[in-house]
Symmetry: C2
Subunit: 786 residues, 2 copies
């Protein structure tokens, strides 16, 4: 199922030109609006038909019990699921008493446009009611980046035939009926009526509903207010009950006349604050929004995005669809993270209920590299959220009989929600991933305040975890046994190379940070003995190597395991986890997602270029990409080792994953990490950027892409990189000090305002490596065999 | 908690001399009666007080859903739990209208005797009612070995003071209220009211109830009839309702008079047969029992046991408690297996609901060695049950994408019920354990009919499984990766030595058996290519070895794992699984139960004597015996490598596990495998018997035991072995052909009726190996340091 033929290719917007009712849930995800605080799925304004109604507030979840057929010590007893909160998007319309519903009457024209520069979703419809009244309806919706509690919707209706009586019913609806969930482990748990009514009110054209979640006890308030602009007399009324509030606007429009109604919706939620406090908070947000007004909200939104694109834009010549896709991706990454502010960025952002709204390692490993280089404050906010959950992570480490902090594999509020420990709690690498994100953020920004307040403690507590998980063996090697790396088709292996290298980085990074700020380190109980133990463990870290094959095993013994029988695996048996037992997957050489190859990207210094190429090609043959967290990594390392065409193909796969619904579950929400991976594929892949040690670039262009230009932020510096076949140009657009970077082996020092152009290196012509049969990425690169 | 002070030491019975109300559930397990078909816990006749009422029918279970917090391919969706069926044991007594209840009035005398030769539970009580009437009550109960559907109870009441009116209410009660289950993973799932009434009837002193289980749809019928012998006029009546039937007997007894009431109860159950068929079946069983009569049932029972002890008795001089314990153990092993006949032997036999009534590998590995050498028909019956479940095991293998048959880790009806696959389905060794039991049975009996009908197919299908689980690596080694061995504190390891050696034995045994019967093998699709592949895999089997330490790792890499921090593990933190996450247990060197050491027992030929001693001593230091499936194995190997005092200690631990409630869960049922392990400890341990290859003995006596004598069956031969300090005597008591055995390296050929006495070998005086702090077995051997 692809979304082909529904969307037009345009560099700055995603435009839908016809309505595909079967793909409605998918388009609701693609057209989702969010500021990281509030998320609205792209449901039709009139409420129905819908694929999956969705309004999400970051951090609002319901508890549910986690059952086990056989219980075990340390298993989490309760999980968290994101819930669909009070729906404030609904604007029902009656045309001469007939409800506007595109399933009835005649739909003459339909267009929805997600505008990456305006930050709005615009919809234009021309429709004739079953009784023959033709109207044009234009709506525009935004979730404000500048006023984070506010949603605005503008509805305009005009008759295209004779005079019509128009009724608009604007609603707040809590505890909506949701479609039955699909049987897919990646989907969400079903929770019916999670909201318990506390207070409701209607007054004039205002309405307010306050609820509490049944088990998690979070208070959620939603309020709406309206501004009506009509050519004739308007009758209004409002009422409210426990689970709904409604404001009605009635008028008569003659041909050439137009009704315009602006709806402001505000949300507030809290674990602790009282009902009056939360109720007043949403009233205040409404007042502020009304004061700003719809037109000014639009202006603010556009200005916010102008600034973002100025820091973050990626330009591609030669592939218009990929150009669109990378901006679509950046737009959604921005939406997921812009105003999360002390709350997590879930795997799906706030675009759908998939994975129960949980945040995983995806955030630090895939999303933060983008935010660190485009919107560093948002990256810091995520890590501040992690820091705020440190007490829970310390408790979890204690429960697991470990020291330091053990961050959860999946969570909303900071508590572990994983119900299958071999592919959950045992994936301790999440802790090194968080530390890695801290180190890269510090490296990019030099933010010493952050380091003192947040960064050092995160590094210290994760280093302590590693020191207590691993041990020195009789030969002095530091081993980390029985953990699960990124590849979810392996589990509980000894000395997973990715994990060990990332732990090494974590241990050294913590020791270095402690040395930079001994006073603060001392407050955290760190002494020289402890940092020495970290350094010793890091230096002695066991990195297994298969001498016979000349490659790194993903984990100790991996390369001696049986190969997967790809020849007898049918196409419909992917993803394998739905058709084969974990038992079989775990003990064979089959890789769900980049693991050793991700180590080559993130800690590549451990292998020389030839070794990297051998490793990459070995894992290409056995990696099936049943995870969306793989193509971008493969793109990066493919580009580095010289498989440029393949890198291009993987970049396109990452970029089009949701636009083409390649994994068949875009309905449950967008894959934010894969969207971020689009940027990673282009900037780290084709741009060859690396940010461990000196910032460096090894740019290259595959056939089919004639120009790549991107901008990144390093602290207060803004760097523009443009890659042409004739050379790469580095320009320090803004900043306070010169910036030093490397172009391949060459050091380049840029003054503010200066630029340097350097030649590209020739790319070797290597035979294209093989993937498992049927699992090669779709060819995007021009020439076969490249 | 021990049962000390409640039981008298006696070689042929377990006698309880006072009633410990707090230990009631435990004593109900110890006093359970069973014939392998029907099991009755030792509940008091009058029903209350009780610890845990229990009546079990082998194979009668209820289905229940198995929930998962995160589902996975191939996880069993439903489990099975043994249920407490219609209770036919109840005989309520009223003394002048006061109910006989030992919690009221005065209990002057209490005795319960489990008689290992009579096969009965006798109880004698003298009690004065709150109103002052003193009576003596004697009951005797049996579950018939000779009439497998029949239970008999004889009640005698006599007044010890004045004239009393006696009412006996004899009942059948279905869906009894059960105490709330304890939170212990080893206990059973709670199922309320599993029986749905189908039919009830009362007529004269007969009563019948027929039910069906709610989800599993098994039809269960229970019927009772009575024979009354009273000195005076007796009034009787009976009535029945859905869940109970009652027969009342009323009379007046004067001093010196006695009422005797015999109650016969019969049970029948079926998945398929109709209500009338099952109802008539229990009526027929009652008729037969009445025709036999109580006294003759007692005679039959005693005769059956005489024959058993003649084949199976073990005698010990010097340790009266252990003498009692080994007969108690053999009696319960007999009860568990005697008449199972095509049904499993559960881990708890039919003595309690522990482990949900499931059958595990315990049966083949611990129970069948005993039955094969004492009651070979019962051993064959178990394997015939496994054979009957082959279609399910083949289906399961197919579901797991394997060939051959994958027998369940835990089951009642043959379907996998394990809800945690790393310590369930992944423990594939159960398949080799079944094959091993087949090979040993064939070796002991030469039963070619069994081999043709059952044995060969079991060997072939398990060999196929191993061939498809394992693979030849680049060096040609045959590896078995990612499986779980016996030790449940490790999981998903590569090349577990126990598993690989047992698989090797399985593959060779299957190839040999196929060569013996090529015609039957051909019917099973076996050709020379396949058996050659089996032999090749077996010969190339990977057996890892740690050259640096000079020991076999339990699995590849095991000896490089971190040691467990025993010094900081507190006594109350055992069993470790209740206090530490699996994650921590799996990746460290801590062993729950004999694993490599069990390989030394079952496949010891792979290591020379010195290697065995080094291996044993290495694993002694890290084995915590949090499982009851360990002490006996440690006893056997300790004896072999020369640690005789330690062997004695472990033998005593296995023997007294339930009698002293060493694991604190005897309340949920007896540990049948550990009871069988008592015999293993003495016969394979002190007797040094091995039955792979030529039957051989290396007998030795620890200090404190002056004589050990035992009898075993080999086909139609009965061998008696007596070990004295002066020498070991082998006597072929009966048989049709001479028997060849080995005494150490010496071959001994015995004619029927002949005996040979040979000297014992001196035992080396070795320093006693260390166990983890606090985990040494209780000293039983006389001298410290031995």
């Amino acid at each position: 199922m692809t979304a082909n033929g529904v969307f037009a290719v345009d560099p700055w917007e995603l435009r839908e030109t016809r309505l595909d009712l079967d793909g409605l849930a998918r388009s609701e995800s693609l057209f989702a609006l969010s500021n990281g605080h509030i998320g609205l799925r792209g449901n039709l304004d009139e409420g129905e038909p819908h694929g999956l109604p969705g309004t999400y507030l970051n951090g609002v979840y319901e508890r549910r019990p986690l059952p086990y057929a056989e219980a075990g010590y340390g298993y989490p007893e309760s999980g968290q699921s994101v819930i669909n909160v009070t729906n404030g998007k609904i604007l029902r319309l009656l045309v001469d008493d007939e409800p506007f519903d595109i399933r009835y009457g005649t739909l003459h024209f339909h267009e929805r446009v997600l505008d990456f520069r305006a930050g709005t979703l615009r919809r234009t419809v021309e429709w004739t009611s079953p009784a023959g009244q033709r109207v044009r309806i234009v709506t525009q919706r935004l979730v404000s980046f500048t006023q984070r509690a506010v949603v605005g919707i503008c509805l305009e209706v005009e008759p295209l035939g004779g005079e019509v009586r128009i009724v608009v019913q604007s609603e707040l609806v809590a505890n909506e009926d949701l479609p039955a969930p699909v049987a897919d482990p990646r989907a969400a748990a079903a929770l019916r009526n999670p909201l318990v009514a506390e207070w409701s009110e209607a007054d004039g054209l205002r309405g307010t509903l306050v609820h509490r979640t049944r088990h998690s006890g979070l208070r959620v308030a939603a309020a709406m207010d309206h501004v009506v602009d009509a050519p004739a007399e308007v009758a209004t009324s409002a009422e409210a009950s426990d689970d709904w509030a409604r404001a009605d606007v009635t008028t008569v429009l003659r041909p050439g006349e137009r009704l315009r109604l602006v709806k402001f919706v505000s949300y507030g939620w809290s674990q602790q604050r009282s009902l009056p406090a939360v109720r007043d908070q949403v009233a205040a947000a409404l007042t502020a929004a009304r004061h700003t007004g719809w037109d000014e909200l639009l202006v603010e939104q556009r200005r916010y995005l102008e600034d973002f694109w100025d820091r973050a834009d990626v330009q591609l010549d030669g592939d218009a669809e990929l150009q669109q896709a990378v901006r679509f991706a950046l737009f959604h990454v921005l939406q997921a993270g812009a105003r999360a502010e002390g709350r997590p960025i879930p795997a799906k952002g706030l675009t759908g209920p998939g994975y129960d709204g949980h945040c995983f390692w995806d955030t630090e490993t895939f999303v933060l590299p983008v935010l660190t280089h485009t919107l560093p404050r948002a990256a810091a906010d995520v890590l501040r959220w992690r820091h705020a959950t440190l007490p829970l992570a310390r408790d979890r480490a204690g429960q697991l009989r470990l020291r330091g902090a053990a961050f959860p594999w999946r969570t909303i509020n900071g508590e572990e929600c994983s119900g299958y420990w071999p592919a959950g709690t045992a994936a301790f690498h999440v802790n090194a991933d968080i530390a890695d994100a801290v180190l890269r953020y510090l490296d990019a920004t030099g933010d010493r305040e952050f380091e003192r307040e947040v960064g050092l403690e995160l590094l210290v507590e994760t280093a302590r975890l590693w020191r207590s998980i691993g041990h020195h063996d009789l030969d002095g090697h530091f081993r980390i046994d029985g953990v699960t790396g990124p590849d979810e088709y392996s589990a509980l292996a000894d000395n997973n190379v990715y994990t060990n290298l990332m732990a090494q980085r974590n241990l050294l990074g913590a020791a270095d940070a402690a040395a930079r700020d001994p006073a603060r380190a001392g407050e955290l109980g760190v002494d020289a003995e402890e940092t020495a133990a970290w350094r010793h463990a890091a230096v002695a870290m066991m990195i297994p190597y298969d001498e016979a094959l000349g490659v790194h095993p993903q984990a100790e013994g991996f390369t001696r395991h049986q190969g997967w029988d790809f020849a007898h695996t049918r196409p419909e048996e992917y993803p394998l986890l739905l058709h084969f037992p974990y038992f079989d997957l775990y003990r064979k050489q089959v890789v769900k997602q980049a693991d050793l190859v991700l180590a080559l990207q993130l800690c590549g210094d451990f292998a020389d270029p030839d070794q990297k190429r051998r490793d990459f090609e070995y894992y290409e043959r056995i990696t099936v990409r049943d995870s969306s967290l793989s193509a971008c990594t493969q793109a990066v390392v493919a580009a580095e080792v010289g498989h440029l065409g393949l890198a291009y193909d993987y970049a396109a796969e990452a970029a089009l994953l949701d636009l083409r619904d390649l994994t068949g579950n875009t309905r449950d929400g967008l894959h934010i990490a894969s969207l971020a991976g689009t940027w990673i594929s282009l900037v780290l892949g084709l741009g060859g950027m690396r940010d461990h040690g000196t910032l460096s670039f090894c740019p290259r262009l595959p056939e089919g892409i004639d120009r790549l230009a991107f901008r990144i932020v390093r602290g207060d510096a803004r760097l523009r990189v443009e890659v042409l076949r004739t050379g790469a140009t580095y320009e320090l657009v803004a900043g306070s000090t010169p910036l030093t970077l490397r172009h391949h082996d060459e050091e380049v020092k840029l003054d503010v305002g200066a630029s340097r152009t350097l030649p590209l290196r020739p790319t070797p012509r290597l035979p294209r490596p093989a993937q498992p049969p049927g699992r090669a990425p779709a060819r995007r690169s021009g020439l076969p065999g490249r």
